[in-house]
Symmetry: C2
Subunit: 422 residues, 2 copies
């Protein structure tokens, strides 16, 4: 059991922060027992770690990121989508056939997550099984929790990034053998890149893998208008883009996360809601690739679970705090045009990156009793140029202008994670 | 004379970077003599400071920022514009009647500029003369160049932030006495807050001060739609919002910089072009206050000079590098809707923050001969996770994902600026 004392802030629901100034959190077996303003009698004789004036908040969850694109983070941002895929994205992924290259890059990836306080991730690796297994091992060794997708694709990409349905199935058998056990914090996720990258045969195989191994699914959905037009051609019998995934058993038949949904109309959003699909909103990516402004308020109004994703390297920034800022800003552009569509609040954006995202992993992302103790200790003393900020103003300042320098400690499942080797 | 060796990158024009890998820059009397791939014979026996693998780029210019709002940086971002002004902005500026409070905050302001590599600034102070003089002294002591505005206002704000036209004139006489001499790098700028904050009498006085002392002018223009509607009511005889400034002698009669121009229509943009007005594009601010997406490509197509501003505290970030990213992203949202309106390139955004902005100060923001040597040494070694990045990719990565940790040295007018005291 451990007891920490700090200014504790979390979002038990999307609309409000719970703030316990100089409060106590009791953690046992990696899970939160309770948060208290005054330490209950039963704990009075237990040692307390006093974190002083620090903030203690739930750790970040990045629900959409391409681990194999870390080298391309922050470059080629002036490229159009297609040249970008052809000249940057695919050539980079081709390098991951070499596990020594993969190891070097994936070590940077894991270190970067750690640095930014991201303790859980839902990631695309590449098509290569051995590099994917390597990434899973590195995340596991770092103490993080993750769903890692060996990418499935066999169309509209270089030959050596393609696989047959049989290869996809065999790879997932191996992934399940190594990471399919219940105790594993790092687990596989079925990852058809997106409809245009997969033949119907491979999409069927993906649906079959999800069903057979009871594996979750991740993919891209309705990111941009020409992609949607292409899917309409490829899948003329589907009612909408999301429906195409559904018909292959890839939309909510098992827990599903879809990135983007920038252009999902009401019909598609309704389908996502019915199927319990989580949307990974990736605002920096949507800007950088000129996709558009995702209608997050509309998703929330419908009752869809929305989380945040960095989407590196279409997104350039690994910080989920920066994603919160961008998500709020995108929502304000909707508000500017339609005053009934009120902007996301900081609480809502914070909740998206913590408790909303966390439900994909179980009881994660909050400090309510029974939740995994995933937490960040924020030492924002350098930002306190005045002594009159409230704890929530301090959190807001950290979210908007802080960075990894202000993250003093990181916990996942109750374990303090030390800096991973780069 | 000093000679530096580094990977030299600058934008002699908006459309292209000039890159001199492992090149030399010769600086004499604070000004660039030349940039060379091979050091000319005449300099062969002069000592060279070898900056190794670093990048050497022009320093940043922040063309719109409210120095007196630094305490509010990154807070109250969920507020609507009017409550934000009433409960955060004005109460904060009221504190600046106290020069000891002002000194504490302005020291943080100057330090923050330094940290982010911003060597020149066009700033709003507050209505208070003595605090404004203090800010000017601190910027001067830090070795920076600046136009600092003692704010002029007498309407729609708390009584103690109002001044009479006579007080405004007397204050500017004092500002000219102390900072009006030619050698001063820190100079006054006439600063009517915006049309709605000033009576016609005060606006006339501002125009008169600009004319009498040949002072430049800064203000806000066409930031949001309700503001524009209000100005139409207040100034029914003006053809547009900008025309109202023009009629008071505050639009290009002396060098003028207008922040925002989010909603300027073609007529207003044409007037800005005719009057040679520089636009300070403040993309983070425009997001945070839900103003909208400024039509920067349209401005550039018309031949208007566009620079970048952080607009703290409506903007939350002091980094001009972050402003470049946001400016590109805003332009991509225009592009998404209108494919004839192509996105800003990195070169254009970089040029906006350097050479375009710099012309407000003279020959500033480039490494062409005769330009003031304002420069940053970028040590991005921590970002080089692979050895195959080109110098331009390194610059792009630094712009997108780097921060003040990667700025190894800062120069203004040839002088290396040491860290100012906080």
């Amino acid at each position: 059991m451990q007891i920490l004392r700090a200014n504790i802030i979390f979002t038990p629901e999307s609309t409000r922060f719970q703030v316990v100034e100089s409060g106590y959190i009791v953690v046992a077996g990696g899970k939160v027992e309770g948060v208290y303003q005054t330490l209950p009698e039963e704990y009075q004789h237990s040692p307390v770690t006093d974190l002083g004036n620090s903030l203690l908040i739930p750790a970040m969850n990045d629900m959409h990121v391409h681990a194999s694109q870390i080298r391309n983070q922050g470059i080629a941002m002036d490229q159009e989508l297609l040249p970008w895929l052809q000249h940057y994205t695919f050539p980079e992924e081709q390098k991951y056939v070499d596990t020594s290259y993969a190891e070097r890059m994936y070590r940077h990836f894991v270190h970067t997550l750690w640095r930014h306080g991201t303790m859980r991730v839902v990631a695309f690796a590449s098509v290569h099984l051995h590099s994917t297994l390597l990434l899973m091992r590195l995340l596991d060794e770092a103490g993080m929790a993750a769903y890692v997708g060996k990418v499935n694709m066999d169309s509209r990409c270089p030959d050596d990034l393609q696989e047959t349905p049989g290869e996809a199935l065999a790879a997932h058998e191996e992934l399940m053998r190594q990471y399919g056990h219940d105790a594993s914090r790092v687990r596989p996720i079925v990852t058809p890149r997106f409809i245009p990258s997969c033949t119907p045969q491979l999409l069927h195989a993906c649906g079959e893998m999800a069903r057979r191994y009871n594996l979750p699914v991740q993919s891209h959905l309705s990111e941009n208008l020409s992609e949607i037009a292409l899917v309409r051609q490829l899948e003329p019998e589907s009612l909408c883009y999301a429906d195409a995934y559904r018909r292959y058993g890839l939309l909510g038949q098992t827990p599903t996360i879809m990135a983007h949904c920038v252009w999902s109309n009401d019909e598609e959003l309704e389908l996502l809601r019915q199927c319990g699909v989580m949307v990974a909103h990736c605002p920096t990516s949507n800007f950088n690739v000129a996709s558009g402004l995702a209608p997050v308020r509309r998703m929330l109004q419908k009752g869809i679970n929305v989380a945040l994703g960095s989407d590196v390297s279409a997104g350039h920034d690994f910080s989920l705090f920066r994603m919160m800022v961008y998500a709020i800003q995108v929502s304000k552009m909707h508000y500017q045009r339609d005053k009934t569509c009120r902007p996301l609040t900081l609480a809502e954006a914070f909740w998206m990156a913590t408790k909303s995202a966390g439900q994909f992993f179980g009881n994660v992302g909050s400090f309510e009793p029974g939740y995994d103790f995933d937490a960040l200790v924020i030492d924002d003393s350098e930002l306190l140029i005045d002594n009159s900020y409230t704890p929530l103003q301090r959190l807001e300042r950290f979210v908007y202008i802080g960075d990894d320098r202000h993250i003093a400690a990181r916990y996942c499942c109750g374990q303090r994670l030390t800096e991973p080797q780069r």
